[in-house]
Symmetry: C2
Subunit: 381 residues, 2 copies
């Protein structure tokens, strides 16, 4: 087995060495000046990345903890909640909403379909919703939803708009304020190029004015807002992860969000063109919306599970399998955050090798070059 490891999953994602090095600095007290300057800068940088004037709350938790906090703070049992679901993470919203006893209406799609704003509008004409739960990047399928259109429809219907942007924030555009998104949830371990363990939640004035009576303590937004107003945390934060995030956000913002968005579009193009050149079939959309995950159908006659095990255990390359009903039917190449075109060509070269070993009928010798060519082309607006 290879000694080198290539992590090409849609999360956790690879972390730049300077970010890892920052996480290994000696522990400082979370209420001292050494940490406060880092914390303050990080909170401000998060607002830039979220494209919002609203407060961005930071929790020591996985991204799902941030999602949980949205229901815990906004909803009471019985509240009407509408979930747009087209994959595993839309289903997670539905499960959390059900756990909080809300009255869940689901606008459901086959996994792999892109949600349509018209369908949400129709559902909201049928039944009012206090909160609409959306998923920007449905990591299980590679589909990136049109949040601008969906949010407009939800806002028009008078609902609060809550978006899971865990795997998309910093990779594809999300104009929280301009698009009227009330609550955006994200995490450290995707396009923000940091280790997992921090969740972020931006909250609009409209959302601050809405409260449910669900019990909450650790994830109480008001307690965290009050602490952050003094650049403090309600509970001991993961200081080493915040240090890393500070460095990672610096890298992202120094380069610029627009540059990051273009980079992700080009990474997606490179992956798709390489996959198609091999003669494989895409599961995720074959357009520039698919900028964070490229999902590929496992060719007939190939065991999808064995393919990924061979890649991982023989070649050191970790790709992601299909989830739910897609298990064994697709595999997924993540390209979120700290990726460049040579990560894509390595993933493609690995897939080519492993599929050839598995006896699949694929075109050899073309994928890597096609990917390089596709990446070269600038994105025209």
């Amino acid at each position: 087995m290879s000694d080198k490891r290539y992590l090409f999953t849609p999360g956790p994602t690879p972390v730049p060495p300077e970010v890892l090095a920052a996480t290994a600095e000696p522990i400082v007290h979370h209420r001292g000046p050494d940490f406060r300057v880092i914390y303050e800068r990080t909170l401000l940088r998060l607002k830039d990345v979220f494209r919002t004037e609203n407060e961005v709350l930071m929790f020591t938790a996985s991204g799902t903890g941030g999602m949980d906090s949205a229901l815990a703070n906004l909803c009471s049992a019985g509240d009407p909640v509408t979930v747009v679901s087209a994959g595993a993470f839309g289903e997670r919203w539905a499960k959390i909403a059900a756990a909080y006893g809300t009255n869940v209406d689901k606008v459901a799609y086959d996994w792999g379909e892109a949600p349509a704003a018209d369908d949400l509008a129709a559902a909201l004409r049928e039944r009012d919703a206090k909160v609409v739960l959306l998923t920007q990047s449905e990591t299980s399928t590679g589909v990136v939803a049109d949040i601008r259109a969906l949010a407009a429809v939800a806002q028009e219907a008078g609902a609060l708009v809550v978006v899971d942007a865990i795997s998309s924030l910093g990779a594809v555009p999300l104009e929280s304020d301009e698009w009227g998104v009330d609550v955006v949830v994200s995490g450290s371990q995707k396009a923000l190029m940091s280790p997992p363990g921090l969740a972020f939640v931006s909250v609009s004035e409209r959302a601050w004015g809405t409260r449910g009576d669900s019990p909450r303590f650790y994830f109480d937004w008001d307690a965290t807002r009050k602490a952050q107003a003094a650049f403090d945390a309600a509970f001991t934060p993961a200081v080493s992860l915040v240090r890393g995030l500070d460095v990672a956000l610096g890298l992202l913002l120094d380069r610029g969000l627009e540059a990051a968005f273009e980079h992700h579009v080009r990474l997606g193009r490179a992956a798709r063109e390489g996959i198609k050149a091999m003669g494989l079939e895409l599961f995720s959309p074959d357009d520039d919306s698919a900028a964070v995950v490229t999902a590929v159908r496992v060719p007939d006659g190939v065991d999808g599970r064995e393919l990924l095990l061979a890649l991982r255990d023989r070649h050191g390359i970790t790709l992601a399998p299909g989830q739910g009903a897609l298990k064994g039917k697709i595999f997924r190449i993540g390209h979120i955050g700290w990726f460049d075109v040579f990560d894509i060509t390595t993933a493609l070269a690995g897939v080519e090798l492993a599929l050839a070993d598995a006896g699949a009928d694929i075109e050899r010798g073309v994928a890597v070059t096609r990917a390089l060519e596709a990446y070269e082309q600038r994105v025209t607006a």
Copy 2:
């Protein structure tokens, strides 16, 4: 200002360099074999440290998240809960219990007093409790409660026994199974010598058989138990922090828990003898129970806040202030986890210097030597 930093707070605590280095290793996928072996070993090591045959659940969260999970899983609104409170962290239990709408009865003490099992027994004769919430090390005062006696009384009364052992586990004895403690909550950032960001919760069979109907998702014990049964996590864990914890638990267990307990007793003795030799007055108990935090009264005529700022900003030494009503009245020297006697002598030397600068009437030139002498003596059982 000094370039070197000395973190002598009761949390977060200093982390050994080999633990920090482990946290900076490249990110691995949480469902791959590179991580699974670390995760499995860490979960088993936690059981050793918790002295339990019960499952220890791991959450990506501050320790308070683990406390929150106890109420979320065990209680419904209206359930009778009894809290033993003698400081800031007892009060935190009461606040969490109130947030979950339980019917809270408080056995309250002045901050600095040690809870007595007889008082709890009397309270439980007056009113049944479904759950009794205890604090082992009340970090705000330096008092370590007699959990064995308190747990026996609570169990006798038929209540579930839940202990906050966040700042004590691995520093002072806690025999979870032998003492009949149903739920033990701890965190990574104290005696477990790791960065903050991981919370642990051990759950007895009796506690598994008790469920409230409070809404929960991220902190749902059953979801995490189910995932951990396959050495998986319910949600993306903080993989880098788990890597560090694995190394730290190895250090702790290789040396042995008994050795760690004796070490902490001797660190406490060294701190107390040094403090008294300077002519200062202890706030925490002057006995071997005070093995994790030494709390000291600020001498008359000295501004407690200024004292800590001088230590921090002139000498690079961070001590902890008093909390709540004790603010400005005491300061606290933490000695939990990765501390040795020279950390104690540095803290004492710093206090001596800063108090002399502040014009306090203290004995100079004796504290460090007295501390070294006190540390030398073995603990006899």
